[in-house]
């Protein structure tokens, strides 16, 4: 009897062929790539839709269950596009919600493999309402177990909002797309004609919308990328991220670092070269690489231990903090804080990006998210000022009063409210209108530069803890991490007295 029932689950060969013709794998094939061999246990295999449509089959278009990924337990669901286009009906949604609940109860990562046209139209409002259950669980799990969404096919409607509520979205560039309303519905609703790629392809979401964190060429690489990412993250918020044995000595000197970073603070360079030099060799995994590129965020290892890196990128927009890079940094900082990942911030920037376009689009509202996120975070927070830290960017990325634990600086670091010329123009507005104004201005600029454009003014008042030689950067960051290894923050106590904070959104 069981055998006969299982027989009915065999996929329709025509539909499988069609799936392959689109360059896509089936749900079974994807799970075989993701899960350790023989580890996967399927749940709710005989669940079927309540309504009676002709092609009704057990499983209801989604394979759910648990197993191990690189020997670590995880809960998964994989939507089956060959069954009613992967559409999300009531039972389909309840099955997904069930594995999410199990992931939460058992403190394990939850991985969704998405390939769905959205709510199942035939089932009406029940399909929508149970979608709400999935979203609520996404919220409940947030900050407790890491949640991942792999976008492997065209995803629309309710199939996009659950991924958007998870921690990381990975997309297969060839086959994946995300949109609220597909090209066909759009055409009939507003008359607009747009292609799938323009609406929600990999380029749109990795460069413009910022929705997707990691893009790979195809599905296989997407699943590999997920495994790589998982390697940096703990099972849940009560565990530490997985540490490796330290292969690369923490005392290694960074002899080439001064060839990477020009002494002249006006010359741009690629900060990724600095990250590669100071972190454990080959350990950096960049997140949001194509989005808001004036900031860099990602995971790396230091002496085998996982850390989160936030850095300015001087070769893009002078490394300025702008609307999108603020969102990118704030979300990354909050993720790291949720999952016990210490933060290292590498600073070389003159401030927030000025100008009408940024102000009108809300650079203050978005920029304040960075302040909130760093102030709220209780994980160890170490900042290094390489060449420049001015104004608001100094406060956001390096202020000890805001909550940064250790602030290091290179010997030529400039730390001030603003540049010398601008400061003198404001401080001596009246005198600069009189005779000998040019000479006076030059003197005052030199005076200002000598007083403020070095790390010692800040170090003398305790805003900078240490001035370090650039070639000893790795060693000093490593020692700071060690020193802060068992940090406990009293902010945690105060949090008990409120439901949640109100981060500016």
């Amino acid at each position: 009897m069981l055998k006969k029932r299982l027989e009915a689950l065999k996929p329709d060969q025509e539909a499988v062929k069609a799936q392959h013709a689109k360059g896509k794998l089936t749900a079974e094939e994807r799970l075989a790539l993701l899960m350790d061999k023989g580890s996967f246990v399927e749940l709710d295999i005989f669940a079927e839709a309540k309504s009676s449509h002709e092609s009704k089959k057990p499983r209801d278009g989604v394979i759910t269950g648990y197993g191990t990924v690189n020997s670590r337990p995880a809960y998964v669901f994989a939507q089956d596009f060959t069954y009613m286009g992967g559409s999300m009906g009531e039972v389909h949604n309840r099955k997904i919600a069930r594995v999410m609940e199990l992931a939460l109860k058992n403190g394990c990562p939850c991985i969704g493999l998405y390939d769905s046209g959205g709510a199942r139209i035939q089932e009406g409002v029940a399909a929508l309402d149970t979608g709400g259950r999935i979203f609520k669980l996404n919220m409940l799990m947030s900050g407790i177990v890491p949640q991942f969404s792999l976008i492997l096919g065209p995803c629309a409607g309710i199939a996009v909002y659950s991924p958007a509520l998870t921690d990381f979205i990975l997309m297969s560039g060839k086959t994946g797309s995300l949109f609220i309303t597909g090209p066909d519905v759009l055409k009939s609703a507003t008359g607009e004609t747009v292609s799938l790629d323009e609406l929600g392809g990999a380029a749109v979401h990795s460069e413009k919308s910022g929705l997707v964190h990691l893009v790979t060429e195809d599905e296989k690489q997407c699943i590999q990328m997920l495994k790589l990412l998982l390697g940096y993250l703990p099972q849940n918020n009560l565990e530490q991220p997985p540490a490796h044995a330290a292969g690369d000595p923490i005392t290694r000197l960074n002899k080439s670092i001064q060839r990477i970073v020009p002494q002249d603070a006006k010359k741009p360079y690629d900060m990724k070269g600095v990250i590669a030099e100071v972190a454990d060799k080959g350990s950096f995994l960049e997140i949001h690489a194509s989005y808001a590129q004036s900031a860099i965020v990602g995971f790396a290892r230091f002496g085998g231990k996982v850390i989160g890196i936030v850095a300015n990128q001087p070769s893009v927009l002078a490394g300025c903090l702008d609307i999108h890079s603020s969102d990118k940094i704030a979300r990354f900082v909050r993720f790291c804080d949720s999952f016990n990942i210490p933060l290292i911030t590498l600073i070389d920037v003159a401030g927030y990006l000025p100008g009408k376009e940024q102000e009108q689009n809300g650079v203050i509202r978005h920029g304040s998210k960075i302040l909130y996120a760093y102030a709220e975070a209780t994980v160890p927070k170490i900042s290094l000022i390489l060449r420049k830290a001015y104004g608001g960017a100094f406060i956001a990325l390096a202020s000890k009063e805001l909550g940064h634990d250790m602030v290091l600086a290179w010997p030529h670091a400039e730390i001030a409210v603003m540049g010398a010329e601008q400061a003198v123009a404001i401080l001596h507005r009246k005198e600069l209108q009189g005779k000998n104004a040019e000479k006076f201005k030059k003197e005052k600029i030199a005076e200002y530069e000598q007083k403020f454009l070095n790390p010692y003014h800040a170090a003398s008042s305790g805003q900078v803890d240490m001035v370090i030689p650039p070639e000893e950067t790795r060693k000093n960051l490593g020692m700071a991490l060690q020193m802060l290894g068992h940090k406990r923050d009293s902010v945690l106590k105060e949090r008990k007295y409120r439901k949640h904070g109100n981060i500016p959104l």
Binding site: T190, G191, E192, T193, V194, E198, A265, K266, K267, P268, P314, S315, L317, A318, G319, C320, V349, A350, G351, L353, P354, G355, K356, E357, K388, Y390, G419
Partner: protein, 124 residues
Amino acid sequence: MDEIKVKIGGKEHKVKVEETPEGKLRIHHEGEVFELEPGQSSIPSEMLKRSGSGESVVVAPLPGIVHSVEVKKGEDVKKGQLLMTLVAMKMENDVVSPRDGKVKSIEVKKGQTVNRGDVLIEIE
């Protein structure tokens, strides 16, 4: 939806035009959509910039002062080649060519202040 050719700054562009249910004109150009009120004759400024950045016009990535111009009109340039530097936010920001081509015109001079999105150089 009709496809028509329009000339912007001497360069021809293919755009698709359609009328929305509200009676506005919707223009599709290289993946971007712009809406025009009926009777509006000017082209939206976003589209002008965009029609440029569609490979041939290089715009200022941030507000600043032109620090140096590294190429001459008529010069052949390669993708990634340094075209000019803009001083902004205490940094000499490199402006590089988006593609291989020839410098058609240089729209700014050394020392000039530019806003984000201003056209700096045209490449053909």
